[in-house]
Amino acid sequence: MISMMSVTEVSRRIKESSAEAVVAEHLERIRKNEFNTFITVAEDESLRRARMLDSIDSGEPGSGGRLHGVPIAIKDNMSTKGIRTTCASHILDGYIPPYDATVIKRLYAEGAIVIGKANMDEFAMGTSTESSYYGPTRNPHNPNCVPGGSSGGSAAAVAAGEVAISLGSDTGGSVRCPASFCGVVGLKPTYGAVSRYGLISYANSLEQIGPITSNVRDVALLYSIIAGHDPKDSTSVDSDTNITINCDLRGLNIGVPKEYFGEGIDPAVEKAVWNRIHDLEAEGATYTEIEMPHTDYALAAYYIIAMSEASSNLARFDGMRYGLRTEDKDVTTTYSDVRALGFGDEVKRRIILGTFSLSTGYHDKYYLKALKVRTLVKQDFDSAFGSVNVLIAPTMPMPAFGIGELVDPLSQYLADVNTVPINLAGVPSVSVPCGSTQGLPIGLQIIGGFFAESRILDVAAFVEQMNG
């Protein structure tokens, strides 16, 4: 039986004992488990900071904050000053960031302790956390299954009770998919709500950092801490980051997009999601089945855009300023050697496909066309939110699949069919557990309009209550 933790419980234990004792307990649990959730465990750093927080006179920044002494797992694509950051790639061997991402600074200002860097698909490219250079993470509900991806380590660490809270990043579902597969809560915020400064870019027009926790209130707490305008990210927006949870369903009209229950959906998933929609209806909400006609084209458009952006963003990994370096030859050969040795199979495939999509003769057919499809997908959402308050749909069309089960790249891409449209549109979505099948969790996602985080989390809290 897996027992998960909440921030309230961890904070209470810190009050009863000390931050150092609680960090030591966390480290012990992480050591004992065999789910391969972390790439780096920051043992010395986390104990040192806990001792500083315990000592009243130290004046340690963040002391007395909302996360005083609470350990957090950080996906290994966020820069943590002094703590090794790998992006689960061989190419960043030995890289120790000289600065903190903005989200890390905000967590420190509230007293949080970074206990380690969580495993992920290499450069966040995947749906299973199998492409990590450091080996796959296992699903705590069934170690023969994947935890989902790409933030698989972050979600599995919460599900296994190793930490109460973690951060992931979501480019096309990378927070919501592992949250769904691991039976935890994960939020993909509105594009621009959370600073991306210090997040190692994969597809910068799509991705957002988001919290993963055991319950909706902790997601709301973490969101209110990490969100807000940052002068260092010119796409970040000054928005209201306060979340009010009062489980108020009065006047709520839910849209149920039929395309999200399409061909290939697991019947158990379909049933679990509909059960919750009917439960919400019984509690006073209404629902309308709606059409979002461009959903079918979103997946292809998403992959073209994400791969194109990746081919540009990953050009910086050339072995000159950090990471792997091979024997010096002429400069082009050295770049090509470093990148051949440092990048894994899926990363190479996406860079090559992205380079192809942007190349002369193919740019208009693939990249530009995909950006136009993106406009149509976004219009589907604009039009839906003209008549309903939120959308509810399965996060993933299936429960966690087996490790090694989806080896063909295209078959794994197709699993993202329900998560990628949200990133194309830039709207927020939270995945919350809604049942299980054969011992594996099922998640549903609640999608809102721009900056409607408070609304979707309020509905998520209601769904959570129904789970008992």
């Binding site: 292809a300 090509s336 190479k348 860079i351 190349s359």
Partner: protein, 92 residues
């Protein structure tokens, strides 16, 4: 159909050296994936492209200097350095 020779050329553009095996494997997989991507040709897209979803325009900060990274920190991860610079292979 994508040929292994085409994959080799794209690999060169992307500065990734590929083995013969990789060229063959990627050629097959790319053909399948591009075939799937062709799905977007099915619809009319008489709309403007969306490069980014927010209605933000250029945001400029005031021209005041702030803190910047120390040279030793910037060089701390460099595989090779010389005289306070990153050392690259010979370029010309």
């Amino acid at each position: 159909m994508i040929t292994p020779e085409e994959v080799e050329h794209i690999g060169w553009l992307a500065r990734i050296k590929l083995s013969e095996e990789e060229k063959k494997q990627y050629a097959g997989q790319m053909s399948d994936i591009l075939d799937y991507f062709g799905k977007i040709d099915e619809i009319d897209t008489n709309v403007k492209p969306t490069y980014q979803v927010l209605a933000l325009h250029n945001i400029f900060r005031d021209d005041v200097d702030g803190e910047s990274m120390k040279q030793e920190d910037a060089l701390a991860n460099a595989p090779k350095e010389k005289d306070g610079y990153f050392k690259t292979p010979r370029i010309v």
